[in-house]
């Protein structure tokens, strides 16, 4: 079922917001404003937005090291997000997590994760909890193609199928596991083929087509919510940038990257909106301006925010145990 022009426009707006936020992050990182390292989501926007478009605010997600898009698509606050990436006391995690660990319990974001595949059983466990609590919430685990090679993926999917937990495992097949192309890290043609081992539906969609992603996710989420069990949903997309910012990428050609850029998920959505008469040059420009304004406000707030004091490092280790660092 095609999205209504309003819904497509809403999803397009979020995709633009992710794209511009990521482009700004890349700039800020290159300018030395951010500690650590970042993994850019550029090129994969349709997957996060299409999947989160099928979710309710009270549904859960777990995210990955390449998780900025998931956080924004699930409704994450840009100010808290940028402040966290700057390592500020006002950030999502008070500066203790950074890019790879953004968590927002109010939005059901159970955490991005620095360990590949680790969020898979965590999402499935949250889904189990929903069922045990008699709630009709679902949990989505975002994971990459590389994560389907790690043992816990298989353990978690086997148990999810056995227990029919209301989970959707969304594999963002972006063509690369770190530096390794798919052909060099797994022999199967489709990641979704792995679902057969667990007697669950395995679906592959064009991950650059936000409507296709939203449709497939809606079906999987409805199945999970109504007690029909989990789904492995593979969204085929492409990582425009390196594994991390600064990655020299000797493992692929610029022709390959350019080829995928011609299938820009934002371009696909924008083309459809224009064809439907729901977007023109002025509308497109105003969406970008609106996103840029929100981003600049968040960046300015983050830059002005205080750094944590060093001793803040001693807090938040345990619940109700203030005396840490005792040894």
């Amino acid at each position: 079922m095609p999205a209504s022009p309003d819904e497509l426009l809403r999803m397009y707006r979020t995709m633009v917001l992710i794209r511009l936020a990521e482009e700004r992050l890349v700039q800020l990182f290159a300018a030395g404003k951010m500690p650590g390292f970042i993994h850019s989501y550029i090129g994969e926007e349709a997957t996060a937005v299409g999947v989160c478009g099928a979710l309710r605010p009270d549904d859960y997600i777990t995210s990955t090291h390449r998780g900025h898009g998931h956080i924004i698509a699930k409704g994450g606050d840009l100010g808290l997000f940028f402040a966290e990436l700057y390592g500020k006391a006002t950030g999502y995690c008070r500066g203790k997590g950074g890019s790879m660990h953004v968590t927002d319990m109010d939005l059901g974001i159970l955490g991005a994760n620095g360990i590949v595949g680790a969020g898979i059983p965590i999402a499935a466990g949250a889904a189990l909890a929903c069922r045990m609590q008699g709630l009709d919430r679902v949990a989505v685990s975002f994971l990459g193609d590389g994560a389907t090679d790690i043992g816990v993926f298989h353990e978690a999917l086997n148990m999810a199928s056995l227990w029919e937990v209301p989970a959707v495992f969304v594999c963002e097949n972006n063509g690369y596991a770190d530096f390794m192309s798919r052909a060099t890290h797994q022999k199967i043609e489709r990641v979704s083929d792995r679902a057969a081992s667990y007697a669950m539906p395995g679906v592959t969609v064009d991950g650059n087509d936000v409507e296709a992603v939203r449709d497939a996710a809606t079906e999987a989420v409805a199945r999970a919510r109504s007690g029909g069990g989990p789904t492995l949903l593979e969204c085929v997309t492409y990582r425009w940038r390196g594994h991390y910012e600064g990655d020299p990428q000797p493992y692929r050609t610029s022709d390959e990257v350019e080829e995928w850029k011609r299938r820009d998920p934002l371009g696909v959505a924008e083309g459809r909106l224009r064809a439907a008469g729901a977007l023109d040059d002025a509308g497109s420009e105003s969406i970008r301006e609106e996103a840029a304004t929100a981003i600049e406000r968040a960046v300015a707030e983050a830059e002005a925010a205080p750094m944590p004091s060093p001793e803040d490092a001693l807090q938040d280790v345990y619940v109700e145990l203030d005396e840490v660092g005792w040894s």
């Binding site: 955490g111 059983p121 965590i122 499935a124 938040d316």
Partner: protein
Amino acid sequence: MTKLSYARAVSLALGEAMEADGRVFVLGEDVAHGGAYGATVGLLDRFGPARVRDTPISEAAIVGYSVGASLAGMRPVAEIMHMDFIACAMDQVVNQAAKVRYMSGGKASAPLVIRAGTGGWLSAAAQHSQSLEAWFAHIPGIKVVSSGTPADARAVLRAAIDDDNPVLVIESLSLYEGQDEVPDEAPAYRLGSADLKRRGDDVTIVTWGAMVPRVLEAAETLGAEGVGADVIDLLTLRPWDVDAVLESVARTNRAVVVHQAYRHAGFGAEVAATIAERAFDHLDAPVARVGSLDVPVPFSPPMEEYVLPTAGRVVDAVRAMA
């Protein structure tokens, strides 16, 4: 008071906790069938399959699901049949359960419990006999508890389930069948407090887990020789009761740390170093350590008996300090 085996004391505590709090559920390999060593006997009949969940042989998923379920408001109690198998779940224990609160800036918490059947004297060889508590006592964000009697097994498990943090519960498999008095009333135990199991003024013996009865046996022998021993059962290894140990050492001026785990880089090294740092002036002798010899745990009984620490070795260590 009722006489109960250690395993029955564990199932008593689980049943009490599940009765008191509908969020508590157990999961693990064979738990619905009572568990490989009988610690979950009777729970399936009382609480049904939704709350007593048999899992595939998938340690990483057992702990990972527990992390997720605890984040979403449940109180999972996962069983790891032998502590050695927790190696298969290390990421979920160390990088997930122990870190989620900190990395989220205190916004999330994971109140899960992992019960691990621990230790040797089972003739089960090197992959079913280890005491790996030092791995976890090393990690901030998780608590670690132990017990050496049925009454303590029940008390620490209840406290672990009530705690809002991830807690690893070390259960002593070699003591599972042994019976002892358990109070009728559910006891209150405060995580982090040690228990003085025997009082004496000549030496402080710090121990935990399966070594508790063996150390008490050693203290009996020493008592007959006129050497009085304070026997401190730490019960909680993280956060451990430093004050109880230091107060005792200030009185006895001698200390021995005894654990079943490999002596080399065991948690006893942390206890010994803390005593040396903070009670140096009270010491009349170097702090001694008794633990497993520095080899994997062997299968054949005479070798296993030789490698694991004994009451005799504790007695020898104390005599050597005189």
